[in-house]
């Protein structure tokens, strides 16, 4: 017997989902949903275990669901899954307030953090990352050691970072970008092609393992504190942590933009990722309040441009997009029998 909504998934979305759940619990006749922070992958895995009261109704994810995960859902009888884009999360490169201001480009970040980088002599080969200080990469940058605290590979933040920064930075090198084009692998069978692409990606996205990038665990507050203790270090954080700790840390300009609600929402600030919510259609109308909860989530009050989630650091969708979703939700009726 279950009379509450069961939500699992991303720890990033957890921070927002819980706010909605709490308000929802207080203002509706339904019980407050239970929200588990399992990480996007773990959540979707649980979510796709099946239909029924034993299984979660909603999965949060800080990335889009994968085909393999959808397959799993299908296999287990979860046929209809509703995807809802709820907003964006910015990823910032922060440093202690005492540190020297840095302005970086994604290319520089790539050069600073990738395991193998293009040979500086201009030949089309890669070498083990030789850069010790930022200054080594671009002479205008300060002469401080490259030291970046960041989350471990299990984290969605890290995923987004490699995709949005490393990949991008990597592809600013023409020859590297070309290599990763599928065309370059013509006339090979699919498996080979895949392998090649994979190799390319690994080339671009592999992080240094020599201590310049420091796995600092999943706890962003810890990173904030560590930055505070190490004025020379940079750290990868969720935007909301920057928002709450502006007296201690500041963010580096990336590609000329500082992260802010506006710059992230408009897409000027380059490192941000979409946040999703996946709902089992079969549970709507069966578990009390599922529909109402989603409605609350996408409402103007919550996710609108001045909604309460904004204050929690979630970057809202553009108005048009959000309204489209709201309409889609309104069209949703419990599939009554």
């Amino acid at each position: 017997m279950r009379d509450y909504i069961d939500v699992v998934g991303s720890s990033t979305v957890f921070a927002f989902s819980t706010v909605v759940a709490e308000r929802f619990g207080k203002s509706s006749v339904f019980r407050t949903p239970k929200i588990e922070s399992t990480g996007s992958g773990g959540g979707l895995k649980l979510f796709c275990q099946g239909v029924g009261m034993k299984f979660p109704d909603i999965a949060n994810s800080s990335r889009r669901i994968k085909a393999s995960e959808l397959d799993l859902c299908q296999q287990n009888g979860v046929h209809e899954v509703i995807e809802i884009l709820i907003g964006f999360d910015g990823i910032v490169l922060a440093q202690s307030k005492l540190g020297v201001n840095v302005e970086l480009t994604r290319r520089e970040l790539y050069l600073a953090l990738a395991k193998r980088v293009p040979n500086p002599d201009g030949s089309k080969t890669t070498i083990e990352n030789p850069y010790k200080t930022w200054h080594d990469i671009t002479p205008s940058l300060p002469k401080i050691k490259i030291n970046v605290f960041g989350p471990p590979p299990t984290s969605g933040t890290r995923d987004a970072f490699s995709e949005l920064v490393l990949d991008y930075g990597c592809h600013t090198f023409e020859w590297l970008a070309q290599m990763s084009q599928p065309q370059s692998a013509v006339k090979r069978d699919v498996k080979d092609k895949k392998a090649l692409i994979n190799k390319q990606k690994r080339l671009c996205r592999m992080l240094r393992e020599d201590g310049a990038y420091i796995d600092a665990g999943e706890n962003d507050n810890l990173i904030v504190q560590k930055l505070n203790a190490n004025p020379d270090a940079l750290g990868l954080l969720g935007f909301s942590f920057l928002d709450q700790n502006r007296d201690r840390i500041k963010s580096a300009k990336i590609d000329g933009f500082l992260p802010s609600f506006r710059s992230i929402s408009s897409g000027d600030y380059p490192i941000s990722r979409p946040l999703y919510m996946y709902v089992k259609k079969a549970h709507i109308g069966m578990i009390p309040g599922v529909e109402a909860f989603i409605r609350e989530f996408v409402s103007n009050k919550a996710s609108g441009e001045s909604g309460y989630l904004l204050r929690k650091g979630m970057i809202p969708l553009p108005k048009s997009q959000r309204q489209a979703i709201e309409q889609r939700m309104n069209a949703l009726r419990p599939n009554g029998h």
Binding site: A21, T32, K34, E36, T38, K54, E218, N245, D247
Partner: protein, 421 residues
């Protein structure tokens, strides 16, 4: 001989000094940790409140009958608060506020303030359409700001705009701001608004879990220890079992979570996130500690006592229950104290069975979803809101208080039992 003696005396003094040093070291660590925690967390026990003149305008509230429960539930308190805030700042404001600033002004009061208005109106329906002076809970940003003002003259402005800071400063000057004891922290469940967050549900969750754990692991642990020490024959197999139990203590706690997930949730089909499962997992985890220490304690009971009892014709059960267990009880309790202390602070296995969750409602029984104190600490420590930092430490203090009470009981018991010897 004399030189030798002097040397031995020095060794003796040194030895004693090491003993004192060791204890002092332990104490110093405890002291440092405690002062660290208390220093960070004491602030959470106080909550900033703002005094406002609230007019319960029936029209704004959209109610007609202040005694009707449904009407009270659905009334629009936000409008009343907004009105009060605007009027309160009337002197500052020449013109109509732009929408953004209005929102800023509104955000100075906790979103939970509406509930206090509801309570006031419910308790005194006659105040409808009257103006009452009410202390409302401030937003966590204001709380942070006001609390940090005291220390260095300048507050942590964090997320407050200049305008907002000015408003708050004016309240401070007018004496419209006060710090009260934060009862919410003890009476409420989790919340994402720091000023409304409490540890009640986590505390109850921990309590339920611990009840299960104590109720199972202590009797099972000492029974197993008694069996292995007093009944089991000595052979390779029992050696193997002994070694394995010792070995269980080194199994990372998360693996116990995996085991619990497989057995209780997978096989027995129990729901996720419930204290019963948590307690069972922690039982499995604390068993080795209790068994090992109980065995050590049983081993330490001199065999002449057993002889004496056997010689009088006591049966094995009587020897065990009348002599061995009472004499070994202090040692068994020590194991239990340490085991439960560990269980009380453990997060990793709970991760596997879904207890790392946002749960607001206070669990009513063993089958209600709940979190636990260490989980609450873990979650708050990972929350972006600044005010959660002190709440994290405060929650740790509560956990420690819980621990100390529990240990206190056990220590008292141990002391009582130890005196009989």
């Amino acid at each position: 001989m004399n030189r030798n003696l002097a040397k031995r005396k020095r060794a003796e003094r040194r030895f004693r000094f090491y003993g004192i040093g060791a204890i002092l070291f332990g104490f110093a660590c405890l002291l440092i940790l405690f002062s660290d925690i208390i220093g960070k967390g004491h602030g959470a026990f106080f909550q900033t409140q703002i005094q406002l003149q609230v007019r319960f305008n029936a029209q704004q509230l959209q109610i007609t009958d202040p005694t009707s429960k449904t009407q009270l539930d659905n009334a629009n308190y936000d409008a009343v608060i907004e009105n009060a805030l605007l009027r309160d700042n009337g002197a500052l404001l020449d013109a109509e506020l732009p929408a953004l600033e209005k929102r800023h002004l509104l955000s100075l009061v906790s979103t939970g303030a509406v509930y206090s208005l509801k309570t006031v109106l419910k308790n005194a329906p006659e105040t409808l359409n009257q103006t009452v002076s009410i202390w409302l809970t401030a937003d966590d940003d204001v709380d942070n700001y006001v609390k940090s003002i005291g220390r260095d003259g300048q507050g942590f402005s964090g997320r407050l705009s200049l305008q907002q800071q000015k408003w708050v400063e004016r309240w401070v000057e007018n004496g419209q701001v006060r710090q009260t004891f934060n009862t919410t922290f003890f009476t409420e469940g989790d919340s994402r608004e720091p000023e409304q967050a409490g540890i009640r549900s986590a505390l109850m969750g921990s309590l339920y879990m611990l009840l299960v754990t104590i109720g199972l692991s202590f009797p099972i642990g000492i029974s197993a220890a008694v069996y292995l020490e007093e009944y089991a024959p000595r052979n390779r197999l029992t050696d193997f079992i002994e070694v394995n139990i010792n070995n269980l203590a080194a199994v990372p706690s998360i693996i116990f979570g995996l085991l619990g997930l497989a057995i209780f949730i997978g096989f027995f089909d129990m729901p996720r996130s419930i204290p019963l499962v948590g307690g069972l997992v922690l039982t499995l985890m604390t068993l080795p500690t209790i068994i090992i220490s109980s065995r050590a304690a049983i081993k330490a009971v001199p065999s002449s006592i057993r002889d004496a009892a056997f010689g009088l014709g006591a049966s094995k059960m009587q020897v065990v229950l009348h002599h061995v267990v009472p004499l070994a009880m202090p040692g068994m309790l020590t194991g239990a104290i340490i085991g439960f202390a560990q269980a009380l602070g453990e997060t990793a296995p709970l991760l596997m069975i879904g207890m790392v969750a946002f749960i607001v409602d206070v669990p009513a029984d063993l089958l209600d979803p709940s979190s636990a104190l260490p989980v609450q600490i873990f979650l708050w420590a990972d929350s972006p809101e600044r005010a959660f930092i002190e709440r994290t430490s405060a929650a740790i203090m509560v956990l420690l208080a819980f621990l100390i009470t529990m240990n206190g009981l056990a220590v008292w018991l141990r002391h009582r039992l130890g005196r009989g010897q």
